[in-house]
């Protein structure tokens, strides 16, 4: 898929790099994505904390599980003790001695006043130049609504502006995220840190996510290479593009996958299902008997662990030119069907404890898009559904989240006229489009058995697009 973006290949070549640099054109850097068996980190993780943090042991334990090597900012020398307790390799960060680093991790949870922000400044001021291309930045804060004072809440909210600015100024394929910790969420940081610090989140940047107590109350820590082992995953719209990539990613991580798509795609679907050692379910999710058929399939498998609502269509017209059937079909496929199927499965208790529902929304649903009033409505409605469903599903031990892809290189986006396509690709901090696998990895992170502390989240997979930001 990467080869679709010929400008990316050109500007990465010797001559292309010189020419684009001379002309001041965008110089996208090829994203380094996660590959099983390859190191997850690009280099040592530089760790820093504002004074008063209480989560360093949780961070050390998570980093140890990743096999991370750490360096500590001189103002955070206490890290040495936490690292020692968890046998994490560590050393003092010295700009001229430490070489290229793979990630910067700052614990801002204890910042409650502007004085405390000095540590944030010092850490990034001193370390950011050491960060390698494709590096990662993660700031961990306290969710503003849980802060103890107005000033603390305001500052914690302010971190969002800070991290998003870093994403825009550091570039070089570096992804920057903010994690807002909820009370009791410390123990379930592992899967989120593993996602944000590795190549799994290559095209996710400028995002904020809350991590709280897992909906099941316990933190699952599966084998990282086979995190979905023993889990059954339903993926709709799975015969091609993003849906197929989602199925491949879950199969890679050890899941039993059930690929669903419309009957005309049945043969493709069966082929992919067989290749992935999964099952095929050829049906139209908008047909009257779809809900019952899916519920029956779930029952036959002892329930699903993960349901990924990826199926979607576009029928683009400006509202004046749009026919009623174009309006209806988009809303039916993209919004009504996934919502009603989810309700049906939850009522039937066909999603097992520590289960996941993930909707594939869209940047269109956040920013709106010319000619997509129907599509944007349906995708924004999914975000609304997440907000209302998440607390209800939590009582069943199930989380409900959404991903909102930006410009992803697929057959669908390849059909966009050149000028618009180029604008879509470049108008983000990565200066390139994402790949289906970037969406898939994000969904796999939501679906990770250890991600029960993330519920009601909407995460964009857009390379920090300028749209809707």
């Amino acid at each position: 898929m990467a080869s679709q973006d010929q400008y990316l290949s050109f500007s990465s070549s010797g001559f292309g790099k010189w020419l684009t640099g001379t002309l001041g054109l965008p110089q996208p850097i090829p994203l380094v994505r996660y590959r099983p068996g390859k190191p997850e980190l690009r280099g040592p993780v530089v760790v820093g904390a504002a004074p008063g943090s209480k989560i360093e042991d949780f961070l050390a334990s998570a980093l140890r599980a990743m096999g991370a090597v750490t360096l500590y900012h001189p103002d955070s020398a206490d890290w040495r003790l936490a690292a020692g307790r968890h046998e994490v390799m560590t050393g003092r960060f010295v700009p001229e001695d430490s070489g290229r680093t793979g990630a910067l991790l700052f614990d801002a949870t204890a910042i409650a006043d502007t004085e405390g922000l000095k540590a944030l400044y010092a850490f990034f001021h001193d370390t950011i130049r050491s960060l390698a291309t494709n590096g990662r930045i993660v700031v961990i804060g306290t969710a503003p609504e849980d802060a103890d004072s107005i000033e603390a809440a305001a500052i914690q909210r302010g971190l969002e502006g800070f991290t998003r600015s870093l994403g825009k100024e550091v570039r070089r394929a570096v992804a920057v995220q903010l994690v807002w910790l909820k009370p009791g969420g410390e123990a379930s940081l592992d899967s989120t840190l593993r996602f944000f610090l590795s190549g799994r989140s290559a095209y996710v940047s400028g995002q904020t996510v809350r991590v709280g107590v897992p909906v099941t109350g316990v933190v699952d820590r599966p084998d990282p290479a086979r995190s979905q082992a023993g889990r059954t995953v339903l993926i709709t719209g799975a015969s091609r593009g993003i849906g197929l990539s989602i199925a491949e990613t879950f199969a890679r991580d050890g899941a039993q996958v059930v690929l669903l798509d419309i009957p005309p795609a049945a043969s493709e679907l069966a082929k992919h299902a067989e290749r992935l050692g999964g099952a095929a379910l050829a049906l139209d999710i908008t047909s009257p008997d779809a809900q019952d058929a899916i519920a029956a399939d779930a029952a036959g498998r002892g329930g699903y662990d993960v349901v990924v609502h990826n199926a979607g269509i576009t029928r683009d017209k400006t509202i004046a030119k749009m026919s009623a059937s174009q309006w209806d079909s988009v809303l039916d496929v993209n919004f009504a069907a996934p919502l009603h199927i989810t309700e049906k499965l939850l009522v039937a208790k066909a999603i097992r404890p520590n289960g996941r529902v993930v909707f594939v929304s869209s940047l269109s649903g956040i920013a709106g898009n010319l000619g997509q009033s129907n599509y944007a409505l349906s995708k924004a409605a999914l975000i609304g559904a997440v907000g209302k469903l998440a607390p209800l599903a939590a009582t069943e031990g199930v989380t409900v989240n959404a991903v909102a892809p930006g410009f992803i290189e697929t057959q669908m986006t390849a059909a966009i006229p050149f000028a618009i396509r180029e604008a879509g690709r470049r108008m983000n901090s990565m200066s390139q489009g994402g790949l289906p696998v970037d969406v898939a990895e994000t969904i796999a992170w939501f679906a990770h058995p250890g991600s029960g502390g993330i519920n009601g989240a909407v995460v964009r997979v857009c390379g920090q697009s300028l749209l809707g930001a």
């Binding site: 040592p44 096999g67 020692g84 046998e87 390799m89 560590t90 003092r92 001695d97 430490s98 070489g99």
Partner: protein, 428 residues
């Protein structure tokens, strides 16, 4: 005047080293001073010794620039240790690091000091290249000249060729002109050490060190430096098939020593913190193990009658006799892998009745060791061998192994140039 107390037990509290790097790689632009300072500062950070005045710091390097007269002291001054901490340089070829530790330990044992740091550093990437000897002599003569005429006469002896032929440090014995590898090749032939057995030892070294890194065992002994987090000589996927393909390095025709079963030139530094038990208690630092004793031996290798690297073979029985121990009374053996053949010659010599009787003056050979206890977390063949830094690496690793084991006893054996060898016993 202090009273002369009875010898005290010397505690090993821990060590720090930077990852070792094959020469002319990650540390190519660094000096011994840089690397020793980095390792020292890491130890100071690890044990929170900022501003502490220690009894002494003893360290050294084998390849030294003439400017490094006070290498160790200069490093101390670059760290956050109290600058009132005295320091001196030690130099005993590859035995430097362990010899430095024995020196510091002896002072602690005698009550002269309570705490000290021992270590070593070496780089072959920043070797002391000197000016041509003829050029140097001409300069000295010009310097001695009383008149301008005498000075010019002396300088007139300078030839352009002198400027292009600097004096390079040689990895060769001064008295035989043979490189260490050539000497070890002679030993391997004399002791009939097979290529296969050498290769097996080398591959095991890589696998053991890789496992030590993977399990996190080395996480508190190694500090990241210049982008390295592991020794870059380490080849975790090393196999017998791969190393068997290499051509002999020192004797192209009939040799068995290769680039895989010999250590490469390496850059690196290591340091170890030693203290009295009282000092450790007062600073709330757990004791990993005790440095019980050390022994140094030398052999006359010049006429070829004894192998260059056989001195540890002599040192160990002398030390064991004093301690009343046998070679089998150990849980861990750390025999420095300068060359796989050196390790195998050492083990074979201890098993050989004739050699033991004639050379070691032993009625009964020391016997064989349980090979599963040998270099279990890897050795110099995998980690690399920055000459003076090897002793500190081994000492800290062994102390941690003994601590992890809940106690035990370990033997260290390090061969050195000049026909010398330094050995020690660590226990808890």
């Amino acid at each position: 005047m202090s009273s002369a107390p009875l010898p005290r037990r010397v505690a090993i509290l821990g060590g720090s080293r930077i990852p070792f790097a094959r020469s002319n790689t990650a540390y190519a632009e660094l000096s011994n001073q840089d690397m020793l300072t980095a390792a020292l500062q890491a130890l100071v950070d690890k044990f929170n010794l900022h501003g502490e005045r220690l009894g002494e710091v003893a360290a050294g390097a084998v390849l030294k620039h003439s400017r490094d007269i006070a290498l160790t002291r200069e490093s101390v001054l670059s760290t956050t240790l109290s600058h009132d901490t005295p320091a001196y340089d030690v130099q005993q070829a590859c035995g430097t690091g362990l010899e430095a530790a024995i020196l510091v330990a002896n002072k602690i044992a005698l009550g002269q000091i309570d705490v000290g740091i021992a270590g070593g550093v070496d780089t072959a990437s920043d070797a002391p290249v000197a000016v041509n000897e003829g050029f140097r002599r001409a300069l000295m003569r010009a310097n001695r000249g009383k008149s301008t005429g005498q000075k010019l006469a002396a300088l007139s002896k300078v030839r352009p060729g002198m400027l292009l032929k600097p004096e390079l440090p040689r990895n060769a014995e001064a008295r035989t002109g043979l490189s260490m590898g050539e000497h070890c090749e002679l030993m391997a032939k004399r002791w009939e050490i097979s290529r296969e057995s050498q290769d097996e030892l080398a591959v095991a070294s890589h696998h053991n060190l890789a496992a030590a890194y993977d399990s996190g065992f080395l996480n508190d002994l190694v500090v990241p430096y210049k982008g390295l987090t592991r020794d870059n000589n380490l080849r975790p996927d090393s196999t017998l098939e791969k190393v068997a393909k290499l051509k002999p390095a020192y004797d192209r025709a009939g040799g068995t020593l290769t680039a895989a079963n010999s250590t490469p030139l390496t850059d690196g530094a290591s340091v170890v913190l030693l203290a009295s038990e009282e000092w450790a208690r007062a600073h709330d630092l757990p004791v990993l193990a005790y440095l019980r004793t050390g022994e140094t031996a030398a052999v006359d290798f010049v006429d070829g009658d004894e192998g260059l690297l056989m001195a540890p073979v002599h040192a160990v029985p002398r030390m064991l006799e004093k301690l009343g121990l046998t070679l089998q009374d150990f849980d861990f053996y750390e025999i420095h892998e300068a060359f796989a053949a050196q390790v195998l010659c050492t083990l074979k010599a201890w098993e050989d009745p004739v050699y033991s009787r004639e050379r070691l003056k032993l009625d009964v050979p020391l016997g064989s060791i349980d090979r599963t206890k040998l270099n279990i977390h890897g050795g110099s063949l995998a980690a690399g061998h920055p000459f003076a830094a090897t002793g500190g690496r081994i000492l800290a690793t062994l102390a941690k192994m003994i601590d992890r084991n809940g106690g035990g006893r370990g033997l260290i054996s390090i061969c050195a140039a000049g026909g010398q060898g330094v050995v020690a016993v660590v226990e808890k």
